[in-house]
Assembly symmetry: C2
Homo-oligomer: 385 residues x 2
């Protein structure tokens, strides 16, 4: 029996995770849940899973949630950064599903590792911003970090049972997003509603825009670098619009092991929880006769500038990926608000990266300081654009 806390239970990963947990009551029990502001859904989740503790964004949301809860024995309600961290480190839980969006997930996840929890990691920023610190801490505490992203889960599954020393490279697949076949000219005038239409995956708005710019894949490369302890030249990207091959590992003898599946986050989430088992879930089997065709192509780094910037930041290392991530969050937010155009996203990120002098990431304080600096700098560029 795993005792589980979910950071970000009302997001798409959180909702899928709860479906798996609900279907396997003999394997999993919920200890705590957190959300930002969606008190309506959190209320339903509290009724269904009876967590001991919940945490939300701030005091106002906490009060709103409190007023919604009418049943007997309501959970303890915490809020704010401190509340999230307290929930992430609760003694009763042995496993944390880290599925908050954005940089806010970093500190609670770090503290959960320090308190010895197994981590099912969906929050990209944790490794992008602070990969070195996180992996060192996990190693020191004997904590395993299980990827929840479909790509990293695929790599993880494809590495199982095969010697790491024989890996020649890992190949992350990318759908190419909604603008795979769009011209750069047409991308200039794209508005949020168009970028939010992802062909294969049903995800939150931030990650869907990241998929449209392909920044998503750049962040995943940085995550893969840390998760699997690989140099950048052993990580490749392959466009695969059908999103059936979730990623692959090429070995030195020419053998390539890949993991395939329907594009449904329930597969990587349930594997992260049931590892090393592949416990049944409610998904239909992959029907290759119906799929018919799978296609592959090299990515276009000229067109997808965000991906190019991410690879360069990853190569540079140190604090550069944290700057990339912060600048991207700010730029995407500004795009979603209609303040900037689609092609301004990479422009703003590049400006911010150029304005930054790489530092070593030696502590969580440094990470947070760099993050803060990058956000301010990008915001200034947005205002000036």
């Amino acid at each position: 029996m795993k005792h589980i806390t979910i950071l970000g239970s009302t997001g798409s990963i959180g909702v899928n995770a709860l479906q798996i947990i609900r279907a396997n009551p003999d394997c999993y029990r919920i200890v705590a849940l957190t959300a930002a502001k969606n008190t309506r859904l959190l209320q339903e989740q509290i009724a269904a899973f009876r967590p001991k503790v919940v945490a939300v964004l701030n005091q106002a949301v906490a009060l709103e949630l409190k007023n919604r809860l009418t049943g007997a024995s309501p959970p303890e309600i915490l809020y704010g950064e401190h509340g999230y961290t307290e929930v992430a480190t609760l003694e009763e839980a042995d496993t944390l599903i880290s599925a908050m969006t954005g940089a806010a997930g970093l500190v609670p996840t770090y503290e959960a590792i320090r308190s010895g929890k197994e981590i099912a990691l969906a929050n990209k920023e944790t490794l992008v911003m602070a990969g070195q610190i996180i992996m060192n801490e996990a190693k020191a505490r004997g904590v395993s970090i299980r990827p929840v992203d479909s790509e990293h889960s695929a790599i993880w599954q494809s590495l199982r049972g095969h010697p790491k020393e024989d890996v020649s490279r890992v190949i992350l697949t990318a759908s190419g997003g909604p603008f795979r076949n769009a011209s750069v000219e047409s991308m200039k005038n794209m508005v949020a509603a168009q970028a939010l239409k992802h062909p294969n995956w049903d995800m939150g708005p931030k990650i869907t825009i990241d998929s449209a710019t392909m920044m998503n894949k750049g962040l995943e490369v940085i995550e893969a670098k840390w998760l699997f302890d690989l140099p950048m030249d052993q990580i490749g990207i392959l466009i695969h619009p059908e999103s059936i091959v979730h990623s692959m590992v090429a070995y030195k003898d020419g053998s390539v092991i890949g993991q395939l599946g329907v594009p449904d986050m329930k597969i990587p989430i349930s594997y992260a929880l049931s590892y090393p088992r592949h416990l049944p879930n409610s998904l239909p089997p992959l029907d290759f006769g119906k799929i018919g065709t799978l296609t592959f192509a090299e990515p276009d780094l000229q067109k997808f500038k965000c991906l190019d910037l991410a690879l360069k930041a990853a190569q540079e290392g140190g604090s550069m990926p944290a700057v990339l991530n912060a600048a991207n969050e700010m730029a995407v937010e500004a795009f979603l608000q209609g303040r900037i155009g689609f092609l301004n996203i990479p422009e703003l990120i590049e400006k911010t990266l150029t304005a930054h002098r790489t530092r070593d990431i030696d502590s969580m304080e440094t990470v947070l300081a760099v993050d803060k600096w990058a956000r301010k700098t990008t915001e200034r560029f947005i205002d000036g654009s």
Copy 2:
């Protein structure tokens, strides 16, 4: 250092295996080689690998080989069934590559298992004819049977590191052979030269015809059943004309692990030798950007009668697969000699299967008796056709 004997060193598997062995002199050493009649190539192999013992088909071939060997310290030359078995059980070898074509490989492979050799198995007939006996013997002797077929190697690799109990099914891929898109009408008049043109693999004539009839895939299903101890309803077949995905394993959570690679037998051969390592070989990496497209379709059992017959024989079990195999060998031989038409192959097999009453396979004597009966019976049907 592995000390290796190859049964069938002048066939396509044998030649590929020797290339791998030559490239890794620190890992592998040849103890003995066998061939049927190709003394010219065997002579070259003897000069290059200095085996202690060799064996050939009969006394006449042995004499021919002896006359070719002029160098100092020539190997001991054995011949016939007894010679093959003696070579297969030589004390100096720890590993046997079983790559003879046809039923002749069965007894030497069986005796090698009994003498405790690790088996790299390319000979299909061993498991098709005597799967139960072979697997029981291997289990009793603590011998592992490592598949060399690309499909079984792919399944083996895709099972590594994942719990067997969580397998929902294995999916053998099939190129569909040269007649994948041919009409049944046109197949009627196919001659050997057309059937021998395989689109992806460069193999011997018997297996190439088996690929054209898709009997090959039927025999592989039977092998998979024994190698991986699976019921027939957990083994599926998928047409995949590009032969890049060599086979896959579907797990109960919807995750599918597959092994991919260029269609080159060096990959499964070298994995069978270097297992669990993926030691480098000279193959270029798989270039997905160049490949572009992979396609999949359900097999047509109406058109490929041989495959249908094989699946039915496998379902029936007992001595039926041995009869299928013997009838197929005779029919293919007759087709290659121009004695019968392409569509007579399944007709003759079906007649022989119908004439057979299933027996239990309780001993190697039973297997050989059934094999003999089936050959005679098919030969009689060929003469009468």
